[in-house]
Amino acid sequence: MFGLKTDWHPDVPQRSFTLESYEGGVARWCPSCGDHGILSAVQRICRDEQIPPEQVVAVSGIGCSGRFPHYMHAYGFHSLHGRALPVACGIKVRRPDLQIWVATGDGDCCSIGAGHWLHAVRYNMDMTVMLLDNSVYGLTKKQTSPTTPVGLATNTHPEGAWLPPLNVVETVLGFTNISFVAKTVDWNPAHMYQTLHAAYCHRGLSFVQILQRCPTYTPHIFDEWRGNPDSIRLLVHEDGVPADPPVAKMYRNHVEHDPSDLDRARQLAADAERIPIGLLYRNPDAPRYEDFTARGLGMPTDEKLAALDRELDRFAI
C-alpha cells in the first residue's frame, strides 16, 4: 500500500556518534606534534561518516605514529615495527566489513617495512594508509630515515644526512596496481581532512603521505613550504580532492591534474621543490585482493562441508 515495499522501515538511525565516540586515551604526543591533527581528522571523518566504533580498526607499527590506535576509541592493533601493513592486510583478508585505518611512519613504512609496503600497495585492499612523515625516526630520538633531507644532522649522521631522500609518492607511483595516491600537509587541516576523506571514500588501498611536523626533532624542515605557500602546487580537478575556498586561496599555485593520468602524476611527484598536494592518482578499477580472499565468507556450514567433501573426493581411490 502507498507504493511502499513490504519490508520498508523508516530509516531512523538507532545510534548517533559524536567526536567523543572515537576518543580513546589522552594523546601523549609532544604538544604541537602534527600527529594530533591527523588523529582529529580521522576522528572527524569517522563522526561525519557515522561509522560505528566497533567497525573501525586502527592499525600501526612502532614509532610515535605507532601510538595512533591507543588514542582512538575503536579496535586497534599496535603491532611490530614495519608490520602495520601485513597486519592490516591480514585483517582485511577475512573481514572486508571492517574499516581500516593504518598509521605508519617514514621509518616504519619506508625502512624496515619497505618490503611489505610494496606488496600491500599492490594487493590494493580497501584501507586508508597514512604515512606520518616527519623525516626522522622520532620515537627513538632522531635517527636518519629514508626521507631525511640531505644535510640534516641526526644521531646516526651527526654531520648531516648524506643521501638524497626517498621521494615517497614518486616511489609509490612506480608500484604496480596502485589505486589511490595522495599527499597532504598536517599544517593545513582543511586540506588534510579533504584528502583523508577522499581516501576513506575510495574503495581500495588509499595511500596518503602526510608531511608531519615534529616539534622536537624536525621543527624547521618544512619551513620553506609553510612560509611560502606558492612553493606548493595544489592539485585541482573535479575528480580530485575538493579544495575548500580558503585552501584554494592560500595555495594560489593551482595545477589542473586529472588523477587518471599516471604519467603526469609521476612528473608532478618527481618535483621535490614545488611539492604537489592533493590527489596524484586514482584508479577505481584496480583489482582488490580481498575480493578473492573473502569469497565464500557467508557460505553456510553444509555447503562448506559439501565443498570439502568434493575436494576430498579428488584424492579418494
Binding site: A58, H70, Y75, F77, H78, R95, T301, L312
Partner: protein, 314 residues
C-alpha cells in the same frame, strides 16, 4: 602477547642456514619453542604421519581458538612431500571455525579477563560492540592498556604460561610401543615414527627388551613421562638434528650437546636421557637405527641390572 588464535605450519628442512633446502631435518624444535624475545609460551604439535598432518591441522585450529594463542604444527620435508594412503576423512561441522561472534561484548568485561587458574580469557572480536580495545605488543594489563609498572608484565607472563598448564591437564600419557618396561626406551617425534617402530620390532623379534614412544605434543609435553621412563634402564631419543657424538674429541657426558628433544626431556624429567641423531638430510633407514640400538643394548645387556642408574647419573 597478542593472544590471537593463529595456526603456523612449520615444514622443517635441512639446516643450518639454507643448508639442505630440499632435504629433511628436525632441527627447528628449539627455535619454534624459544626463538623469540622474552617468554612466549605456545602449543607445539608434531604429527608423525601424513594422515596425522591432516587431522592435526583441525585440532590445531580448535586449540588456537580455545587457548587464544599460537599453535605450531611442526612437520618436515618428508611429511610435506611424501604420499601415503589413509582412510578417507568424513568432514564434520566441528572442523570448521565458527562464524565470528558479533554479539555485543559483555559490559564490564576486560579484553584480557584472565582466569587466575588457567590464564584463559574470552577474546573480543572486531565488530563486537563494546569490546573495542587495542591489541599491543607492549606489556599490558587486563584492560589491554600499555603498562610499564613493576607487576603487569609479570602477571601477563604468568597468565599466558598458565594456559599451557591448563592444556597439559587435559592430555593423557602416551602409549608405549612394545612392553611397558625393559632395557631401552627409544623416544621419537615426527616423521621418524615408521623407521623407529620397525627397528624396535625387529630387535624385539630377536629377543631384546626394547620399546619406543612417539610424542605428538611437544609443548606442553605429554604427562606421565617420568613414570614411563622409570621402567626402563635407559632412555634415548632418535632424531634428525645435530648432537655431539659421545666419543667425539673434547666431548664428555657433561660437555655434550644433545639432540633437541633430548634437551627438552632431560630438563623436563631430570633423567639422563641419551640421544642418537644425524643431519644427513636423508630419512633414517630402520637398519641404521637397529645398528645403533644394538650397540646400546649390548652395553646394557652386558651390565648388571640397576634400575636406579638412569636417575643417578643425571
Amino acid at each position: 602477547m597478542a593472544e590471537v588464535p593463529l595456526v603456523v605450519v612449520v615444514v622443517q628442512r635441512g639446516g643450518p642456514s639454507t643448508g639442505l633446502p630440499t632435504k629433511v631435518e628436525q632441527g627447528d624444535l628449539l627455535a619454534v619453542l624459544y626463538g623469540a624475545p622474552g617468554d612466549n609460551p605456545k602449543i607445539v604439535l608434531a604429527p608423525a604421519t601424513i594422515e596425522e598432518c591432516f587431522h592435526f591441522v583441525v585440532l590445531a585450529r580448535r586449540l588456537a581458538e580455545s587457548f587464544r594463542g599460537p599453535v605450531m604444527v611442526l612437520t618436515d620435508a618428508n611429511l610435506a612431500t611424501g604420499v601415503s594412503p589413509f582412510p578417507r576423512p568424513r568432514p564434520e561441522a566441528g572442523w570448521l571455525a565458527p562464524p565470528a561472534d558479533q554479539s555485543p561484548w559483555p559490559e564490564g568485561m576486560t579484553p584480557f579477563d584472565w582466569d587466575e587458574r588457567t590464564g584463559l580469557s574470552p577474546r573480543p572480536v572486531p565488530g563486537q560492540r563494546g569490546g573495542e580495545y587495542v591489541l599491543t605488543g607492549l606489556a599490558h594489563n587486563r584492560q589491554g592498556k600499555v603498562a610499564y609498572d613493576s607487576t603487569s608484565n609479570q602477571t601477563g607472563c604468568e597468565m599466558r604460561s598458565r594456559k599451557l598448564g591448563a592444556l597439559r591437564q587435559t592430555l593423557v600419557p602416551p602409549v608405549v610401543h612394545g612392553d611397558e618396561e625393559g632395557d631401552l626406551l627409544v623416544v621419537g617425534w615426527g616423521s621418524t615414527l615408521g623407521a623407529i617402530e620397525e627397528a624396535v620390532d625387529c630387535l624385539r623379534a630377536d629377543g631384546h627388551r626394547v620399546s619406543s614412544l612417539h610424542l605428538r605434543f611437544l609443548s606442553p609435553l605429554e604427562p606421565g613421562l617420568e613414570e614411563i621412563f622409570a621402567r626402563f634402564r635407559q632412555v634415548m631419543t632418535v632424531e634428525l638434528n645435530y648432537s655431539d657424538r659421545p666419543d667425539a674429541p673434547l666431548v664428555t657426558p657433561t660437555r655434550r650437546r644433545y639432540a633437541q628433544l633430548a634437551i627438552l626431556l632431560r630438563q623436563r624429567t631430570l633423567l639422563d636421557v641419551d640421544c642418537w641423531s644425524v643431519v644427513s638430510g636423508q630419512p633414517v633407514p630402520p637398519g641404521v637405527i637397529v645398528a645403533e640400538l644394538e650397540k646400546r643394548l649390548a652395553a646394557l645387556e652386558g651390565a648388571p641390572e640397576n634400575i636406579g642408574e638412569l636417575a643417578c647419573s643425571a
